[in-house]
């Protein structure tokens, strides 16, 4: 098979995989629902004459649908942001929380759980503090005249560590019977308490972030050649980088605000995608979106359907992701160069 037809097959696969998984996921869960019932329930709003039981309607629309959408959105957002970061920082070991977004969001959530405990407040705090922490990182890096990428990364490491300590401080003073487990559980990551209202709240930042990354994926290719090269082609690398960072931060903050901290996805899915479609960002970014959405959807199905209690998804992403990753690695990894 030649390279061209391989590529076409990959792309067709990447388009259909999340769609097939989306519908298949409705069939999975702890409550036994027959495929016919699921199909009837999904079609019921369109064909009102179909008979469906209210219990199954609840399960399909209130329990399974929000989680399926959430897994797709969170997986896609983290993978896209990871791919974009790896490309603009020219480093394959970079994940979306490089500039402190996860720990910032984690601190916001822990603070909200400590003072209020309401889900909506926690979500808003996580989102806002995620953005605040990246802003601080960026402003610090701009304060040093001889800035550049290294300073940005270093201040990201510092701000990450700083917020991490603040999280520990909150854990230390939180009530160990009530607040502490809640904070720990949130930090482990879970899609268990997602509902449509929470999803609607993050819709706008997710859409804006996606549009920014999609629109700038040509520029990412130019940035990858180096700043001077990009400048000579009439690009302002600092400004483009800032825009990409802003898009990634919107995506990651929004994702983390509904799911808690889910590791591994944003670091490794872009690698897997690169092995499949190559390093060209024009293909890599949308392909990461598709693969990330499919992967997290698959993992979340296992998390909610395997045993009688919820397995925190942050635990499963690596347990399931590592073997897949190592398998792909074995098949050869010449694309990253």
């Amino acid at each position: 098979m030649d390279k061209e037809s391989k590529e076409i097959i990959s792309i067709v696969l990447l388009i259909f995989l999340p769609i097939i998984l989306f519908f298949a996921s409705f069939l999975l869960g702890r409550y036994p629902v027959s495929p016919i019932d699921v199909i009837n329930t999904i079609l019921c709003p369109i064909f009102p004459q179909l008979e469906v039981s209210p219990t199954i309607t609840t399960i399909v629309y209130e329990i399974r649908l929000p989680r399926i959408i959430a897994a797709i959105v969170v997986g896609a957002a983290l993978s896209m942001a990871g791919a974009a970061f790896q490309s603009i920082f020219k480093n394959p070991l970079v994940s979306p929380d490089l500039l402190g977004v996860s720990n910032g969001a984690g601190f916001g959530a822990a603070l909200a759980i400590l003072i209020s405990g309401a889900g909506v407040v926690t979500q808003i705090f996580a989102f806002v503090f995620g953005i605040i922490s990246v802003s601080i990182t960026y402003l610090i890096s701009r304060a040093y005249k001889a800035g550049g990428i290294l300073i940005l990364v270093l201040s990201g490491v510092a701000i990450s560590a700083f917020f991490n300590s603040l999280i520990s401080a909150i854990k230390f003073i939180a009530d160990p019977d009530d607040k502490l487990p809640e904070i720990v559980y949130w930090l482990m990551g879970s899609l268990a308490s997602v509902n449509l209202d929470k999803l609607i709240m993050i819709l706008i930042p997710i859409i804006i972030g996606t549009i920014i990354l999609m629109a700038l994926r040509w520029h990412m290719n130019l940035l990858a050649m180096g700043d001077e090269e990009a400048q000579s082609l009439g690009l302002n690398p600092t400004r483009v980088r800032l825009l990409i960072i802003a898009g990634c931060t919107l995506l990651t903050s929004a994702a983390v605000s509904i799911s808690g901290i889910i590791g591994w996805v944003g670091l490794v899915i872009p690698h897997m995608t690169r092995m499949i479609v190559g390093p060209d960002n024009r293909v890599l970014i949308p392909a990461s979106l598709s693969l990330g959405a499919s992967f997290l959807l698959l993992v979340d199905n296992i998390s909610r359907a395997l045993i009688s209690i919820e397995i925190p998804i942050g635990i499963l992403t690596a347990i399931i992701g590592v073997p897949i990753f190592l398998y792909l690695l074995k098949k050869g990894y010449s694309e990253w160069s």
Partner: protein, 368 residues
């Protein structure tokens, strides 16, 4: 190629919009239920529940415990697996109740798992003084759909627990059993109130509550965990630390315990209890020298603490007897334990079994 990417985005957008739209336009048809009644739950929500409830599940252990005590045959599932030790006091017909998990500690339950156990109603506990409660209850109700969710104030105070027991009795049609449990509780509460009010400050013993396997975690009386110590009129050793009510367990050092030199130590940790008399660090403490260390009985539910709830009712006479054996000579502990286990744990103990539990907790045969 670019077109294909746009198509993906478009599909994703359509799916989200479709989901939201169905959510908005979907009005689930309600099942005609001839025998239903409107009740007001403990946070003033109006809930419609079926007449004559047969199957109930609770989303966390404290209310599951109450249900097990007053209406065991209506309890459809438990939140976690009984241990072998606990099963020694569980009748066989309840030993194999399905385990559905729940929302407590650091775990989240699975709504589908709960719905699959086919409950008529779901009981959701509200912690006293907890926040964000109404939103949690609303979230549960949304996800349980047509199954009514009834919110119960899961009181963590043995003096107020009667209220939620009586409420649960009304809801599940077990008023008699609920009254019986409430009366049992009140009888011993009145007794300890009466006796503790007559204690002069000089008579009050100092009690250290040891938790954790090293015995160096404790709970001052501001937290709900050491409440039985205050209830029977003893001084909680850790109170000198002046910790607020927010902290439920604090780490202390052995030197700190030595300087308190408590008269009595009560522990909930079997490992600590097993080693305390052979530990040179603890050997200098008055309670250890006088063999005044007591281990809360644990099965089928703990007597002294964790969870704090209706399971502590039998802990009231026990705590009173171990701290002030001379003042409570009129309580026959063997008879009290047999009565409680028979009525509320549905398990008939022999005299020897009751004695085994009590002597296992460190009580002296002469004080039973």
């Amino acid at each position: 190629m670019e077109k294909k990417m746009k198509v993906i985005l478009l599909i994703l957008a359509i799916l989200i919009v479709l989901g939201v739209a169905t959510h908005i336009f979907l009005t689930p048809s309600t099942v005609e239920n001839s025998g239903s009644q409107n009740i007001t739950d403990m946070i003033n929500r109006s809930v419609e529940i079926p007449q004559g409830i047969g199957n109930v599940v609770a989303t966390s252990p404290p209310m599951t415990t109450v249900l097990y005590m007053i209406a065991p045959d209506k309890l459809k599932a438990v939140n976690f697996q009984w241990t072998d030790e606990e099963l020694k006091y569980v009748p066989s017909q309840y030993a194999n109740l399905p385990v559905v998990g729940g929302w407590f500690g650091t775990q989240d339950g699975s709504y589908e798992e709960f719905i699959a156990s086919e409950p008529d109603i779901v009981i959701e506990s509200i912690d006293e003084g907890g926040d964000g409660d109404l939103s949690t209850v609303n979230e549960r109700q949304e996800k349980f759909g047509s199954i009514p969710v009834v919110a119960v104030r899961d009181t963590t105070n043995v003096e107020k627990v009667g209220e939620s027991i009586l409420f649960m009795g009304k809801i599940v049609g077990a008023e008699d059993k609920a009254n019986q449990l409430n009366d049992f509780n009140n009888k011993y509460l009145d007794m300890v109130h009466d006796k503790s009010s007559k204690l002069s400050d000089g008579d009050k013993k100092t009690v250290y509550y040891a938790s954790g396997d090293d015995g160096l975690q404790t709970s001052p009386s501001g937290s709900s965990h050491g409440q039985l110590i205050d209830l029977v009129g003893a001084k909680n050793a850790a109170d000198s630390l002046n910790q607020g009510n927010t902290t439920s367990s604090i780490q202390v050092s052995i030197e700190q315990v030595m300087s308190w030199n408590p008269d009595v130590i009560i522990t909930t940790d079997p490992e600590f209890y097993a080693g305390v008399y052979n530990d040179s660090n603890w050997a200098h403490i008055k309670a250890v020298q006088n063999k005044e260390v007591y281990l809360s009985p644990q099965s089928p539910f703990k007597w002294f603490d964790r969870p704090v709830g209706a399971n502590m009712i039998i802990g009231v006479p026990w705590t009173a007897k171990v701290i002030y054996p001379d003042d409570y000579k009129d309580i026959n502990m063997v008879g009290t334990v047999k009565e409680f286990y028979s009525n509320f744990y549905h398990f008939d103990l022999s005299d020897d079994q009751a004695k085994e539990i009590l002597i296992g907790s460190g009580m002296k045969e002469s004080n039973l």
